[in-house]
Amino acid sequence: MRPCGTFDERYSQDMAILRIKRHWGLLIGALILLYLFPLFGSYYFISLVNSLCIGIIIVLGLQIVSGYCGQISFGQAAFMAVGAYTSAILTGKVGLSFFLALPISGIVAGLIGLGGGAPSLRIKGFYLAMATIAIHFVVMWLIPHLDITGKTQGLHPPAPQIGSFTFDSDEKIYYIIVTVMLLMTYGARNMVRTRVGRAFVAIRDNDLAAEVMGIELYRYKLLAFFISCFYAGIAGSLWAHWIQVVHPEQFTLLHALNYIGMLIVGGGGSIPGVFFGVIFLRLLDEGVMFAAPLLASIFPWIGIHPAASMSVSVFGIVLIIFLIYEPRGLAHRWEIFKTSYRLYPFSH
């Protein structure tokens, strides 16, 4: 978002994310608003923002592996489960602090994610996507059949604590979740601009050409999987301590499909796109879920079940309409808007 007439004279200016004073002003204003939100937001909206932030972290990871590196992954829900379980075991059974368990669960999920990325040496495209679905099912089968994960009963991780202060409510854990989300966004935004990120883009655009250019294909693909699963693991850990229940039936393939959906709705290869996608699809999902009881209460002759079924259809139909008119995602629209803003008041 640069207004007309901003010219870059130095390299550092070209690279700056926050280029002009107004950007700084907007950022600080937004941060203050974000951190003061629990003071005036209602309970439901705080928890909604929590779930949005966790969704954003997951989809950021997906954006790196799929949007930037071009390796479609359906394993995100399973790796989120790995993170959630690791965190729950470390805090609940080992007695580690949540703040230690959080990065560890990210790393564990990342390491297991390397296993998910391993087939990418040989498999490409949808075959790889299906391999990640396979990994999803294998992980989700293993979890309820191991002793350490509490079998099918799940685990109850405790709320995070600093000293005697417990983050046991939505308003309190909001600060942790939002902070982690901001850090992860900052990390992702910068990582895609480094050598690694550019290598990812090269692999996505043409992996053979990238290899010829001297990019070690396998290493970078694995790295992309590691980073993406790290993000999923972090999100899983946050989710576990926010909901305070980890259960094998929480992480389904439908979630993984939804994350891919968020990525595409937002637009591949764009960090703001992640925000658009998550917010659009999550709010759509919430909207149709709550429209059904409302509909049933206004028009009692419809009945609760038909209203609920219709809401499922509406979700699909809205997505269909969206894809017909915006198949390149909201980020595409955002780019167009940015360019026209940059040119304003000139037309070309």
């Binding site: 209602s42 309970y43 439901y44 928890s47 909604l48 779930s51 309820p144 079998k151 099918t152 009963q153 799940g154 109850h156 409510s169 939505d170 909901i243 305070q244 229940v245 259960h247 094998p248 039936e249 929480q250 389904t252 439908l254 979630h255 999902d285 919430e286 879920m289 709550f290 059904a292 009881p293 049933a296 209460s297 009692p300 002759w301 009945g303 609760i304 079940h305 609920a308 079924s309 809401s311 499922v312």
Partner: protein, 401 residues
């Protein structure tokens, strides 16, 4: 200009009357976090129809001492994230007193939240909530109790058939927390009574064909098989058993969510002889009940198409009505909250619910909706009662949770 002014005036008038009306009306909220479109829709859809209709009937009669009940049913699609989100969305509803979390994982996830908000929560039948007393109440006897009652029944049956030695029991259900629940305590009970349990079989929900598991149970030479899962799963399992010819030699049992009379109508010859343990009335018993007329009254179709689970919905509503009555008497409408309702629910011991279920067993030390179960058998394509109300043995206390 005048048109706009008129429009604004009308709108303001409507708004004001709306606000006044909503203030004038005394209302409490009953929230159902149900799955209408996924794995256990067969149980949830008719169940919540029953609740909704009973509340409609109640409100039409003027409510409980002038207090109307508002019913909210949200579709969670058997998804924990949606369930939690829905709970958080509706938790601020005026006077939300009871949240019915249908589905084992959702019950577990919403449990801590409801406890913190001091709201009464209902769950289907997990014995865990009887073992660890809290604000979570079970609909009827726990799954374990039903399993234990079945063990008693089969021992009597074994003796009646004049066979010697001890019978062997097989267990087959979903590979999930719900599927494994009956064995937590049920297994100990079977051991206590000397019934050998073959290694239990668990299959993923949505399996097409169950012959593999059934033939393995058959190979273990079981005499009885207890089938878990929410209908239509048990119907399909027994249908596959029938295909293998097992129904001739092995007696099949189903628990509460076993084949309803609608399921029996689909596969009458396969289900013939299946014994269903139930804490609510089934088959013609349920249809003959005067309250079942609500099914016709609210336009769900003919009485013979009624799903018996409809009556469970009315049972939740009846229990709620009784609890509300006590709570209103004790603290009045103004001070009415989840805590008062929780106290009231504990005083419901012995409540009779029009004979649809055994007397209520909620008390400060019990979270069971009732103790009594009843055995039904599929005979000539009809679900027929074969026993009176029987007190189920306590199997929860046998297991360490």
């Amino acid at each position: 200009m005048r048109k706009i002014l008129c429009g604004v005036l009308i709108f303001t008038f409507l708004f004001v009357t709306g606000v006044l009306q909503s203030n004038a009306q005394k209302e409490v909220t009953y929230l159902s976090l149900a799955d209408y479109t996924a794995a256990i829709a067969g149980l949830n859809v008719p169940g919540d129809m029953g609740t909704e209709d009973y509340f409609k009937e109640l409100n039409a009669k003027g409510g409980v001492d002038g207090v109307k009940v508002k019913f909210i049913g949200v579709d969670t699609r058997y998804d924990v994230a949606r369930g939690v989100s829905a709970y958080k969305r509706y938790r601020a509803e005026p006077k939300l007193l009871v949240a019915n979390a249908i589905g084992t994982p959702i019950g577990k996830a919403v449990g801590p939240l409801a406890t913190k908000d001091k709201i009464v929560q209902l769950v289907p039948g997990d014995g865990e909530f009887q073992a660890n007393l809290g604000r979570i109440f079970v609909w009827g006897p726990t799954y374990q109790d039903a399993f234990a009652a079945t063990v008693d029944w089969l021992l009597a049956d074994w003796k009646k058939k004049g066979k010697t030695g001890m019978p062997k029991l097989g267990f087959i259900s979903w590979d999930s927390a719900y599927g494994k629940e009956p064995l937590r305590g049920g297994k100990e009970y079977a051991e206590k009574r000397g019934v050998t349990l073959a290694p239990p079989e668990f299959f993923p929900p949505g399996t097409m064909d169950h012959t593999v598991y059934l033939s393995r149970l058959a190979k273990a030479e079981v005499n009885y098989i207890f089938v878990g899962g929410v209908d239509p799963t048990p119907t399909n399992v027994i249908r596959d058993a029938h295909k293998l010819g097992l129904t001739k030699t092995i007696q099949f049992f189903c628990d509460y969510w076993g084949p309803t009379s609608l399921g029996v109508r689909l596969h009458p010859e396969a289900l013939e002889g299946t014994v269903i343990v139930s804490y609510y009335l089934r088959g013609d018993d349920a249809r003959k009940h005067p309250l079942s007329n609500l099914w016709v009254k609210y336009g769900h179709g003919k009485l013979e198409d009624m799903n018996e689970v409809y009556t469970i919905g009315m049972l939740w509503a009846m229990t709620f009505e009784a609890g509300l009555k006590i709570a209103l008497k004790e603290v009045g409408y103004k001070k009415l909250d989840g805590e008062a309702m929780y106290q009231a629910y504990q005083k419901l011991t012995g409540l009779e619910r029009a004979g649809l279920q055994g007397p209520c067993a909620y008390s400060p030390t019990s979270r069971r909706g009732s103790w009594e179960v009843r055995f039904y058998q599929v005979r000539a394509g009809k679900v027929t009662s074969i026993s009176d109300w029987i007190k189920a043995p306590d199997a929860v206390s046998l297991h360490k949770f």
